[in-house]
Symmetry: C2
Subunit: 469 residues, 2 copies
Amino acid sequence: MENSPIDSNHLSDSETDLNSESGLWRQIHDSIEIGDHQAVADAIAPLSPVETARLISRVSEQDRVEILTLLNPKDAADVVEDLPESQASDLMEVLTPENAASIVHELPNEQSAELLRDMPAAGAEAILDNLSKEEADITREMIHFEPDTAGALMSPDILSFHETQTVREVFQELELNREKYAKYDVLYAYVTRKNGELRGVLQLRNLVLSNHEEHLSQLMIQNPLFLKTDADLETMTDFFDDHHFLGVPVVHHITNKLVGVLDTEAVESAKERRASSTFLKFSGIIGGEELRSLPLKVRSLRRLAFLAPNILLNLLAASVIAQFQDTLQAVIVLAVFLPIISDMSGCSGNQAVAVSIRELSLGLIRPSEVWRVFHKESLVGLINGFVLGIVLGLIAGIWKDNVWLGLVVGGALMLNTIISVSLGGLVPLLLKRFKVDPALASGPILTTVTDMCGFFLVLSFASALLDKL
Amino acid sequence: MENSPIDSNHLSDSETDLNSESGLWRQIHDSIEIGDHQAVADAIAPLSPVETARLISRVSEQDRVEILTLLNPKDAADVVEDLPESQASDLMEVLTPENAASIVHELPNEQSAELLRDMPAAGAEAILDNLSKEEADITREMIHFEPDTAGALMSPDILSFHETQTVREVFQELELNREKYAKYDVLYAYVTRKNGELRGVLQLRNLVLSNHEEHLSQLMIQNPLFLKTDADLETMTDFFDDHHFLGVPVVHHITNKLVGVLDTEAVESAKERRASSTFLKFSGIIGGEELRSLPLKVRSLRRLAFLAPNILLNLLAASVIAQFQDTLQAVIVLAVFLPIISDMSGCSGNQAVAVSIRELSLGLIRPSEVWRVFHKESLVGLINGFVLGIVLGLIAGIWKDNVWLGLVVGGALMLNTIISVSLGGLVPLLLKRFKVDPALASGPILTTVTDMCGFFLVLSFASALLDKL
């Protein structure tokens, strides 16, 4: 953390407009051609993080590599920090391991670990081999923590001292390692046993105002709260909701050693990422965040990976129609209402899906509370099915001047809405129980089932009343 | 901010199971019946925030009001902080203004403002009338800031002093107001002119180590960075990406007076809320976050508000089928493929919609970049349309042993995929330009257009080749 905001009057929040932006890109491209490091660095320096990310995502991969290679590692690390994570990982893969390592060296360890975690193991190892042993070891350890656990989100950069040390020794150590500690976001200092177990917390203020001969064990706050490295996002959220701390020490879940400090901002960022990823997966974007700067082949293939199983589910649903071809041929007007009924009940069901996914992620329902959700959703389904069924039934009946047609169409929509809303609430719970990601699979499953039911209801009602239609 | 974690060994992250939870609710209900304040407070105290929120959302509205009224205001405020925002606002509305005010008094000002902003103006005023004039004025001012601006997210609780004051005077003032300042999240102290304009930042550390006769103007860091109250979420995100501060002073966008401090955590939380709300709106949940604890009528009506316009759009799409009833009657097997083509191209288009919404929210594309998005998406549409069209065409052709049927069905899916993917990328951009929320309107608009196109393509191809089918 930089300690304070210095010497600059106003924020430039006015972004350059599109034309001057593409002018800038051309200028950077030209500077790359002639290998003018300084011009590239100067052109990028005044850009906001969003502008930098936009720039990097628009130039060719070759220019992208050139830019990062031309910049000094510190500037390059700033650029990498501004990029969306998936893009940053991809970029590290195409750099030489030496160049990538020099950039990784400038990043905070938890960010290095995040980048390398997303890369193929061989590529990550090649980069780690170019780091100092100490740095490589810390990063390697962090890579192994599950994403979105306290171990993955914490910063390993902590001030920690032994309980037998005196205040004077602490000041000497701080003096000696001034340069190293300058990079740390120091909130507290921690006190450990010789074996690395957490014993206490030191407020920097107390350290400053204390007698220099005192032992840390006398000065520290004993038995502090902590989180374990395997704590999940919900546990971390709960912790910071309960305790208004800026940071909490993190202890390894197996060795019990103090390994890092977790701050609230990291937790909030992780929650934002998760909410975004839920939205994208729900919309059929899988395999991580898609950016339009990714190669065409990758984007097409990832999207097809979601669509291909979907075509099978669609065939399954449509097979119901194939069973009723005779009825449909006899009352061809039904073909007009089939897509309306399947789409409307799909929408109604998706609303229930979204509420369940959201309540699950907030911890407001548990995967086992099937009965409660069914009860709550079936009532909404009943009311909305009733309203929508009457509306569509009236439209159909009046259009073709046939009460029976209205009954078939309206009745089918009514029943199918009740089914799809009740089911839509339950599907995410059931998927969660079977450890399948609800955001990814709920939509296709729900759509298939409600399509099948909808088609079956309309066409079987119509078959039964064939002589009246 | 509490200053440090004290005296507690382990976190209870084991939640009570469902049975004992409902036992707890019964016990609380009984304590309410006999008016045992202490028992209610004792029962709620050990619950995690998520457990409290779940409890409150499950009991009857009457019990909910009783719980908040029985608890002392400080405990009640803790409960309110744990609730999702919409629920907290609703709850404040049903309390008496006196009770609500005593709870609001215990909340940080920015949270009070957020709660009251979501309430009807009359209800909010009734509560404000029961607060001290000073507190009511601060809160009233904050209510008027737009949600998700720096003014709405900042904390008005700052340590600020005049540049002419000495360090000694500062210490005297701190001593005098010890109790008030104890509640503040103090990151820095700020120095202002007599008229309230920001002049500098004081690091607490420098204050402690300084000569007590020094004037603040000599000690402070001059011309610090700041944000204005009307800064939006993107500007705030950019600021904290550029500067690794924990907090930044906020200055009123009209009066230029220092009014608060914004910390990174508030910005990250706001981003999380926005990502969640995008997901919910996209799934057809409008009018804010829906919780299953809301009254049935409210939930049904809000969902219908999204579904009702949808039924009209569906009728519009289906009207295309009505135009081609003769063709359909002649080749009834087409009815099997109509829903497949409309659903598959809907899915493909939604993927493009999601990528555009996400890139817009990250600032990676601008609403004016229609051509770039069209170019990028039409290529994906081309490839995926080709693949899916061939697959479905082969299935249709082989099933009915008719090459022409395969060509009609496959060709229609191919073309319609290209259309829906290109259009899916563009719709969010166009909506954004016309100031309509893309998350809310993109889905229904895209679905209607691609349904119409899909039905038209299949049925007009089939009409043209009617003698071969």
